[in-house]
Symmetry: C2
Subunit: 397 residues, 2 copies
């Protein structure tokens, strides 16, 4: 009722004498959406700001790089979009500070303790590192200009494939990853110079992949384990892992995770991830039973090492440790393993905006580096098949 | 451990080829702080975004208008700051949408229902109204240039006060509100033209005050009652209100809230607010006992009206209704009453960013309008005392 009298205002808009800056408007738009947190009604029933930042970075990566499956420079407008939006999303990190006490000496020599604010140390260390890694990846893509190889356009495949032999090979690859364009090389294969250059790029992207992965897993390990994960843990680690694996883990003599993995004969990433989830859940179940904390700091490891044998020989402690080493070996065997249920749960429950930005940024760089490596491998694969064919022709002659 | 290898990056900063736009940087700063939600560590342990918006608007008002106690145009740089920062804080409202179904007719005449998004109706109605009210208040202040009255600077009071008579009067006022500068008028008082102009401004500011207050209370009434308020309600409305008030409320014959208020003889705003808090708490206690919902929509009121006498005569329902009318009368007697505990609780628990912006915006405009009215009254008061004095001198002659 009270509102009726003001409705005549509704269609009036105050005249804005300022010229609208498109850059500023875009920024307002992006920040407003971050603030709304995926509840576009403004009701605040969406996700928290940390998750919004994480999802925004993930979505931006999909928008900019999602349709790119070739070794070629990123189109200019996409690069500009990427730069602008990432700057916007990451800018919030510049304002996150931590308080530290610092000793200052007065003019009369009296030392006093003062509290200083400074940018968070995890951001200081990791953000410039990630920005450097990103710049290196973009540079790698930028350098793929005037290359000896090229990509087959859809529908024009047969006309460009050099012979039926290589065609079959490519066809097979295409069935596996039909959405990835097929690289083509000249009839005589790549030049040695070109191969050397590609090998260098691949090794470089591989290093970047490892670096991004290592930052990502270190950020993930620093995220709190959500209560929701702990409450859904199985009551018994044994029932979750299954009797056969459990029996192999609960042996009196020395436990060999590698031997166990050999026996399990895991054939796909999917199987590996399923096992990783189970092992991780069992590990936390046993840790909880043993009365251990959720995560182990390096200090905990020292204490473990120094603690008495009685404690170390506790059944649940032993099982938790064995599960940990099994998980470690599994991840080493499948370095490209997707995130486990715990990782996903951590990302979804995380409230820390700094960790959200670092985790998602490192995750997408890991993905981009991995893709570049595999696209280079695709070119090598085509090149090898051409060489192989030429050798065969030479042999049959 | 894994982080060590990247630390060499930490001191490198990517060169930014773009020229830094100060406007853009300021915007980033403001939005980043909104996103951090008063937890500058980025840990997300601060307040929710709605509360951050509300607090930011309140704080901005204090910064820009807090030191201003005179009828004079707002300094240019403060006005620019106000405009820029409010635009930034309110811009998030432009992105809040609601979904509504709408009937569209296809070319063949088939009607289909489509879902459309549009700006939230409460924002569409109230935000332009508030912006208009704000513009009117700023204009009122802007028009106070080359006025017949002026303000005494601190320490130069005695030299400018025209006579000992008026000096005493001013001195008294200053003791009540020592922080408010004292207005001075020419020896003969204000011109009739000037008085007319001031009266017009006062009436105008008064209307704006009422309008802002009405929007504010309508937004507050639409905010959910927090569970935390309901759980802290007293078990008995009687014990909270005290026996004497309770006995006057629980009379068989017609209850007169005005008579009760007359008896209570409330002398200060403070007493009034204390009573309002108690009455409001008792009202919700009785409503809960009667099994009524927290808030009454207009439809509920219709149902109340149409419901059977049995239900209406339930003791708790009657008491809740009487408490409601008592609260209403109390607020009418003390129109400048501060927010009740429930209002404060609602603002602190509110998650809706749109309501947060509208509530805080209307609240500060209410405050500014109220101040302008009282500053004009101060000028009139000085003017009257001069006139009175002149009349006295004339009489004694």
């Amino acid at each position: 009722m009270e509102q009726q009298q003001f409705e005549f205002f509704a269609n009036e808009k105050l005249e804005d004498p300022e010229i609208v800056d498109p850059e500023l408007e875009l920024m307002k738009d992006r920040f407003a959406k971050l603030l709304l947190g995926e509840d576009m009604s403004g009701g605040g029933k969406g996700v928290n700001t940390a998750v919004t930042i994480s999802n925004s970075i993930t979505n931006l990566y999909a928008t900019v790089f999602g349709h790119n499956h070739k070794l070629e420079p990123l189109p200019k407008e996409k690069k500009a979009m990427w730069r602008r939006e990432m700057d916007c999303l990451l800018s919030v990190c510049d304002y996150m500070v931590e308080t530290q006490s610092s000793l200052q000496v007065l003019q009369d020599g009296t030392p006093i303790e003062v509290m200083m604010t400074q940018t968070r140390s995890d951001i200081c260390v990791n953000l410039p590192a990630l920005q450097k890694l990103e710049a290196m990846l973009i540079e790698i893509l930028d350098n793929f200009q005037d290359t000896e190889f090229w990509y087959e356009e859809q529908g024009s495949r047969s006309s460009k494939s050099v012979s039926s032999g290589s065609f079959t090979r490519i066809e097979l690859r295409k069935e596996e990853k039909w959405w990835v364009p097929v690289p083509c090389v000249p009839p005589g294969g790549l030049s040695e110079e070109s191969r050397k250059n590609l090998r260098h790029k691949r090794d470089c992207a591989n290093q970047i992949h490892k670096a991004a992965m290592s930052i990502n897993s270190s950020i993930l390990s620093e995220m709190e384990i959500p209560d929701s994960y702990m409450t859904t843990l199985p009551k018994s680690g044994r029932s979750s892992l299954g009797d056969s694996i459990y029996k192999q883990m609960y042996v009196p003599e020395n436990f060999s995770p590698d031997y166990l993995l050999d026996c399990l004969n895991i054939t796909s990433e999917h199987e590996a991830l399923e096992l990783a989830d189970k092992v991780e859940a069992s590990m936390y179940t046993w840790r909880r039973k043993a009365g251990l904390g959720h995560s182990k700091s390096s200090w905990d490891l020292v204490k473990d090492f120094m603690s008495e044998t009685d404690n170390r020989s506790d059944k649940n402690t032993v099982l938790a440790e064995r599960a940990e080493s099994l998980l470690f070996c599994l991840k080493q065997r499948f370095p490209k393993l997707s995130q486990t249920s715990l990782d996903i749960c951590k990302i979804q429950c995380n409230q820390d905006m700094g960790k959200a930005a670092l985790e998602s940024y490192s995750r997408i760089l890991e993905g981009l580096a991995f893709n570049i490596v595999s696209w280079i491998e695709d070119v090598f694969s085509t090149d090898r098949s051409i060489n192989h064919e030429t050798t065969n022709i030479n042999k049959s002659n």
